[in-house]
Symmetry: C2
Subunit: 229 residues, 2 copies
DNA sequence: GACAACCCGATTGTCTGACAAAAGCGAAGA
DNA sequence: TCTTCGCTTTTGTCAGACAATCGGGTTGTC
């Protein structure tokens, strides 16, 4: 309520779109692991659609960077190196700072209200410890943040980046103690935006991402030491 | 020479890829105008490939934002509103500033050398007035700038944005007097990068895009007054 | 026993043909 | 004039087919 996505379960969207969503989710959820090959025939059987729909959906995901196709060898779930992960977080910090600043300076009162509701929900979810509820809340928060930025390109790029972060397959929230910090940081962002303080909002966004990056990259470095590559 | 793309005319790239390039070029060159419908059958005949290849290529372009598909009505070349154009230039300024700063601070000497060569070529092309040579030179400059940033995500996003700028179909260089300024601004960028001055490089990049945006948006505003929508 | 050449199965890339469903358009009727 | 009906066009999707290619295993040679 108050937010209520107007797209009332666009169930009639083309079959291809549904396949896209299914694949995206399968990758995000880690059911398809980075590096894993995606064989057309198998996908057809497991999803129950023809090759046409599968292949077109794969093109979309390829353009989004979620999968990588090698000619005549087919697509694999994209992998992200340590350097790329660092780069990803850098751009995220840049874009989210911008979004936060724009939101603070030009967002509507309605957007701000929605944002604060999302933050409250996130804090509550963090307190009660609901895993999927947490993810949903965080997603809602980011959706709102990007929406409030008022820039469709920023929104699209950040969405793509967010999807790719999941390729690292550690939500960075799962690190002990990180969650509480995360809640605080997000409250800080919302407060700055509510205050209409652009500079402060940008700084808070950057800080938030930089912290997440630090945790994620530390973790990556540690595991890759044991993991070889 | 010195630059020499190592991908020796990847002529064997899948047919679909070639179709993508052809369509991209057709849109960039203005042969397909924004708002125009793209009918599969016509594309098949004019390009000479089956529907499969066409459709998959269209998915890719859709993901890139060059075309927009409506269910059961097919794709049309994307249109950009005045507000979106303004947003596009904002993000471009943000990302190119970042790229310039990173380039200045972390780019290799080799990259810097290539950049300066590209600038020289651009200046020369501008002086001799070669249209297609100018475009090629500008493309080379930007490719080098993005390459030097060392961030694959920035590179990808800027490429996408550059492609979409062409949807406005006025290169902004075509404005009288703009070209000379453009050359100067680009020299400024290269100089700052060569000096390893990150802040100055970022500022020069931002200035360059802001100027281009101003010209483009003024032009858009003027024509849209007469044009209705 | 190691290494090169070769062959074969699996998979992709692409075309053709087919058909239901939906959108847009024009004609017929109220 | 406005609504409704039906037709045409185009899209969305499937099935089947086949050449090209890749990877791996096998064979043969030194």
């Amino acid at each position: 309520m108050g937010d209520m996505d107007l797209q009332i379960a666009r169930q009639s969207a083309t079959l291809r779109t549904q396949v896209e969503d299914k694949l995206r989710q399968a990758i995000s959820s880690g059911r398809f692991k980075p590096g894993q090959r995606l064989v057309e025939r198998e996908l057809c059987e497991s999803i129950g659609v023809g090759r046409t729909s599968i292949r077109e959906a794969l093109r979309q995901l390829e353009a989004e960077g979620l999968i990588t196709s090698y000619p005549h060898r087919g697509p694999v779930v994209s992998t992200i190196t340590y350097e790329e992960a660092a780069q990803l977080y850098s751009v995220r910090a840049l874009l989210e700072s911008y979004a936060g600043k724009e939101f603070a300076e030009n967002g509507t009162a309605q957007d701000i209200h929605t944002l604060n509701e999302a933050v409250a929900e996130f804090a509550e979810a963090a307190a009660s410890g609901g895993g999927s509820r947490l993810i949903k809340a965080k997603t809602a928060f980011y959706d709102c943040l990007m929406q409030g930025s008022g820039n469709v390109f920023v929104k699209q790029m950040l969405t793509s980046l967010h999807n790719r972060v999941t390729l690292l397959r550690m939500t960075s929230m799962t690190q002990p103690g990180r969650l509480n910090h995360s809640v605080e940081e997000i409250k800080e962002i919302a407060a700055a935006i509510t205050d209409r303080n652009g500079a402060k909002a940008a700084a808070a966004c950057k800080y938030h991402i930089d912290m997440a990056a630090k945790v994620a990259l530390d973790y990556l470095r540690k595991t890759s030491e044991n993991d070889g590559d």
